[in-house]
Symmetry: C3
Subunit: 328 residues, 3 copies
């Protein structure tokens, strides 16, 4: 396409974005980082066919020798087959957990995301493939996806079987061993969301070690009046002698997060997180983290955040975090 | 510019994009890649002056140690001098071949682009400079450009005189030796497009080996009823003893692609491609490739693709490709 | 956010951009580069709250081993506290000099920016933090910011105390030692702008050498009829024995630029620049540069530029520059 040919005017285009600036001060280690800057772009082809995308600049600066990167996190075509069934084809967010699909800063408490959806569920986590969504009834929906799989390091190094390092991000990804993801979601009661997902990876090492694995995760979100509660559990079970040798055949964690929103503009929260990426060993490798703090929303889509952080268990450290976030 | 100063509202802005996800399975080598994600942005300054740009994220992920890159592929100001003549200044697509200027996935058959417009014509190929376009009559137009040149490797390595590796992409490009490009295009008969381009490179090595070169290419596109035919020929002729020594002084290729579109939504094609990047030697270095497959368009701007691929000649391998693409 | 949830339609979104292509020929060193390609995106939350951002691709191509980079140069939320006071939070341009905040190519003469706002004021220079702006009266405004600081190299290498190399660009930036910036700006007389800024860096080395520093800068812009004048002075004073040892404890420079615009479309200019990044030593390390040339604006927001360049003092070289630029 060139200038004279008509690129779309903007009538069927949707645009949006979000971003978050973080100041972290943990054990006198002070850093400031525009962690995420995101553009959404969508297009409505017809009532039944649409495109959606999310493009992110992480850490503000991407290039040779620079700390950040540019990431395509969503880019799919969605086709409605009928009123209750639709199919996504392309690159999409894996339907697991709370934050993986909804991670705009004004939607959650805490400067940093909860550690479970990072260390156990490797959010932000996207794969390529096809996903079918079916609504059984108002507030009951089911997703099933065939998607590209993880490829965890397996070269006898320190990152072996590190789930987070296994994300190929659909960038010239090895597609030897695919994965299957299913989710059931219940939102029929106002204020309540319950969801559970299972994912089967046919081989986490993409043909090298024949390490099939299953992820089980469930979460609850409940809001009534100003009171809110979020809780999530996630568990990896990896069928591999190599993973077993280091206790990485089990990797799990959970968090609970009660909160109270006094007004539209102000709310407080506390969050306790506990996780273990070597839960299969007999050593004490459990990490613990507690955050307490507040959100201030001058507008529903703009947020200032503060929280105190205390790390314990197999890790240590105290400090605080400050953040600014927005979405549109 | 800052927030208080008025950035444009969106009334004169045009937005668009395209993308393609590829799954390749050749000789049991399976990979999945969001090969291209593109944003178009244009602005209409007046009836006679406009800006147009194309920004691409290749391979989904760009940064230090990452497989992809962010590329500016078009960014030019176009000024109409009169009803039949206009001038582009800036960074533009070189006016050669079929795909170089029109490469949105719903516009062509085959998951992957034809290999000639990759190995011989190094598409996607952009340069900086000025281009004048003149319409002699309805359906007869002429382009002439003075543009930045290629800089092929010439350090006695394996990529010496590799045309594709010579693209400087207008990124701190060596401008010692410019190039001149001319194209004549005929579209006066409905369904038919004929075009031929010549490019003269004053020195492919930008002052090192004094290797001037000429590219000659011609193509035809014909559509009538459901039947379609595309054919293209391209030939490099390089005046350099160093290139002659390895047979790279001649590099050429062609493809023919008949197709049949049964309905708006479904069409089939076959494509035979043959090329040789060392056509000047006496060895059998000719590559051959045959693809047969189909396109399915649920909407005219959204496409699902499948094709079987068979490689022969100086290369070998069989397999298939699957793709999803869109434009807006 | 996903497709079904509503990303913003485009009604409250503002979009814009600018870009510049440079051809440089200094001492027969010829290069062509799409130096800057920028997208602006803003959102109006309410009359009092807005978001603004500037995303740039430098040198056309960013990725592993590529010459360019992707940079987030602005991304902040601005809240009006009352009619005369507003606060920015996030990542913003430091309020110093002329070009740092207003650098769109049609707004200035010369293909390349003046060297003072590069070598002394490290434009384009952004930091993260909070900035308060107060308008005392029509045409009299004051800015005060608490922002992230520079981190100059200090490993006894050739870039030690190089101000430009000290920009952390809010990318996982060390926030041990913050900085404070104040500016007074006077624009009450039509055609005239006077401004002066002071910045205090608590430690240019972020906790290593305890090198606090002050930047002082002032500039004047005056336009009357076709006549224009720009002048700027900037001075760093660094309190560090290590900087003193190499004369880098003083770094300063200035430029003066008279110009004359004959019509809306055509103007000429001359610019004399002088700077010294080792002004504290007793050697002749002063750089001088003279540019003379013209701008041609076919539209007020599109510009073609040409200038002759002559370097002298502690550097040497002659040549010319050609450029194309636009904004919208």
């Amino acid at each position: 396409v060139e200038a004279n040919m008509s690129a779309s005017n903007t009538s069927n285009v949707s645009l949006g974005g979000y971003g978050e600036l973080h100041y972290n001060n943990i054990e006198d280690n002070e850093s400031i980082d525009f962690h995420r800057f995101v553009l959404f772009m969508g297009y409505e082809y017809s009532d039944d066919i649409r495109f959606f995308s999310e493009l992110e600049v992480e850490h503000s600066l991407a290039g040779d020798g620079k700390p950040g990167e540019v990431e395509l996190e969503q880019a799919y075509v969605e086709i409605d087959l009928n009123d209750s069934t639709s199919v996504k084809s392309g690159l999409f967010l894996v339907p697991v957990g709370i934050l993986n699909e909804t991670h705009e800063p004004p939607t959650f408490y805490g400067v940093e995301r909860n550690p479970i959806e990072g260390k156990i569920i490797p959010s932000t986590w996207w794969e390529a493939g096809a996903l079918i969504n079916h609504k059984f009834a108002d507030g009951v929906s089911f997703d099933f996806a065939i998607n590209s799989g993880l490829e965890v390091p397996n070269d006898a190094g320190v990152y072996d079987f590190n789930i987070r390092s296994g994300r190929q991000k659909v960038a010239k990804a090895n597609a030897d061993s695919l994965a299957y993801t299913a989710r059931l979601k219940y939102t029929a009661v106002p204020g309540l969301e319950l969801a559970a997902s299972v994912q089967h990876q046919t081989d986490l090492t993409q043909g090298v070690l024949n390490a099939d694995a299953n992820l089980y995760t469930a979460h609850a979100i409940y809001n009534t009046g100003g009171f809110g509660l979020r809780a999530l559990y996630a568990n990896w079970s990896i069928d591999s002698a190599e993973a077993e040798a280091t206790g990485q055949d089990k990797q799990d964690g959970f968090f609970v997060e009660p909160s109270y929103r006094f007004t539209d503009k102000f709310g407080i929260f506390a969050r306790y997180s506990e996780w273990d990426n070597q839960a299969g060993d007999s050593f004490d490798t459990t990490m613990e983290q507690t955050n307490v703090g507040f959100n201030y929303w001058p507008h529903e889509d703009v947020v200032f955040k503060f929280d105190l952080e205390s790390r314990s268990g197999a890790q240590d450290g105290d400090g605080f975090n400050l953040g600014v976030g927005y979405q549109f």
